[in-house]
Symmetry: C2
């Protein structure tokens, strides 16, 4: 975690304030709600998205105090999405811990997610910045659309990699882009920096999701805290399985598994074929291209500790194992 | 429905535009999503909340064009809340039609609600008004808190009527208040009108929820399109059952039903005792006080067709049978 520590160096103080803003949300009258919030907002997350927001705001000196509510809003929106995603996917573990829906039932988790969305919107409103709030609602819509698209296309093997990239751009990269651009907006950065930071955030988000999808094949279950093969089990085609389908359009184990959804044998076969194919290396090259694009985007903003940390985040996203 | 028709007279054109804005949301690429939106956004609702927003904006001549996105945002937020509420309550019918969760399963309904929340936030952002957007997020939080509170206190018979009034103020009246105050805000009404309209909206919302809670005892199942006794079945104490508990603190059928949750006999006993007690008349008197307060609040805004319609909405809320 040495790299991660150095990433946080320029924003230690602000990150502590973000953590405090998230803790403040837990102080509610109802012990049951407080317990649920405690569970889903437990410290120890990597805080990548709020860090990107805080670092992206470091290039201008205006309205620095607005970065903390923005960053807290983004982390909360992310966490709320996870709570609902876990309900939707009927997931039982995340980061090695039981999901909210497995502990507190679906109804409570739906409400909990809504409550967190509402607080996230409230924190976005705290910035008092119309553009930031517009971006918040656009991002919310993109994320909800991406999640819906994923669900609507489950088990549909006519999907293309082009659709995959569009889907992860909505579902995942939109929030990274909002974090970076949001930091630029609330700190009053000039237009050129803002566009560059948005491009940076979007690229990091794409790399992040591709690596996520790779780790769902090759990751270590203990480190990830969730079972491998989850995506195929949900009927979600990701870059590795899509590339496998492209290489073997006629007969391949993914199609067979989708036709026999509950067959562990077909799932194992599909997983193995991907692992033995060199496809994951190709996926890492694609993720690497997005990382490189993130680095290039950063050339437009002033050099210094903040830019250094943003560059390290882009590298870290590819190296992470969970 | 004569009264309802006259309510709409001053805002016919704008209501058609709100309807159009809601229809526009249905035009999406995914037939399944489009079908779900078609189901939950079917025309024919009473459009009380958007009407209040549109009418409340009629007292000033500024930025009238912003009232339509505001009103559409409010109706969409309301409908999104219903979609999630039905998931939470495992309801199978609403307005005489199957709920989204009973047609499309819980996961899809969670996503559908999130998607509608996102669009509602986007429409609120369309007003370009920072205060309106802040109010949107505050309202979202109030509604989510009210819903959580209702769930957390289910089957808890130590609740008081004071807690009930607070809960329905959050869960229901906050959106009516936001509709009325929002209309005032985006049309640039002076502060005194804005405060009066907020007071009006809050009072109408309180009356609306109390009548809703009365109809859950006395309503006609066919007209309401949902079973009576739903609240007690969910463990939700409302004004009628709370007044019954106050009158018979020691031994009463609500307590007995809460102890034997699946006993239809105890439920029938509780329903009957409320119906034979005169308690519902008392509840109507309380709702009538809120209606009167709404009328009084309206005295602060200029007389005319818009004020007339708002007054009629307050009356209609008490007279409705479903």
């Amino acid at each position: 975690m040495v790299r991660v520590v150095s990433i946080y160096a320029p924003i230690q103080e602000e990150l502590a304030q973000v953590e405090e803003a998230l803790q403040a949300i837990k102080r509610v009258d109802f012990p049951e709600l407080s317990e649920m919030l405690d569970h889903v907002l437990a410290p120890g997350g990597k805080m990548l998205r709020p860090s990107i927001a805080l670092l992206s705001g470091k290039f201008s000196n205006n309205h620095q105090e607005l970065l903390v509510p923005l960053a807290a809003s983004i982390e909360l929106l992310h966490t709320a999405t996870l709570v609902h995603d876990d309900v939707i996917d009927r997931a039982s573990t995340r980061r090695g811990r039981p999901t909210a829906n497995s502990l507190f039932d679906n109804s409570a988790s739906v409400m909990l997610g809504d409550y967190m969305f509402a607080h996230a919107a409230g924190l976005a409103a705290h910035t008092g910045n119309l553009e930031a709030m517009r971006m918040f609602s656009r991002t919310l819509l993109a994320m909800a659309s991406g999640e819906l698209e994923q669900d609507m296309t489950a088990y549909d093997y006519s999907q293309t990699t082009r659709q995959y990239f569009q889907r992860i751009a909505s579902k995942t990269a939109s929030l990274f882009a909002a974090a970076a651009e949001g930091g630029a907006i609330v700190s009053g950065a000039p237009e050129a920096w803002r566009a560059a930071l948005r491009d940076y955030g979007e690229s990091v988000g794409m790399a992040f999701q591709i690596v996520d999808d790779i780790l769902d094949f090759s990751g270590d279950e203990a480190e990830m805290g969730k079972p491998v093969g989850s995506d195929l089990m949900q009927g979600t085609l990701t870059l590795p399985s899509l590339l496998l389908m492209e290489r073997h359009p006629r007969d391949n184990p993914v199609k067979r598994f989708f036709r026999h959804r509950h067959s562990p044998r077909h799932l194992a076969e599909a997983m193995e074929m991907v692992l033995n194919s060199g496809i994951l290396d190709e996926c890492y090259r694609v993720a690497g291209d997005f990382r490189d694009r993130a680095h290039t985007a950063l050339e437009a903003v002033p050099a210094g500790a903040a830019r250094e940390s943003l560059a390290e985040i882009a590298d870290y996203v590819l190296e992470r194992k969970a």
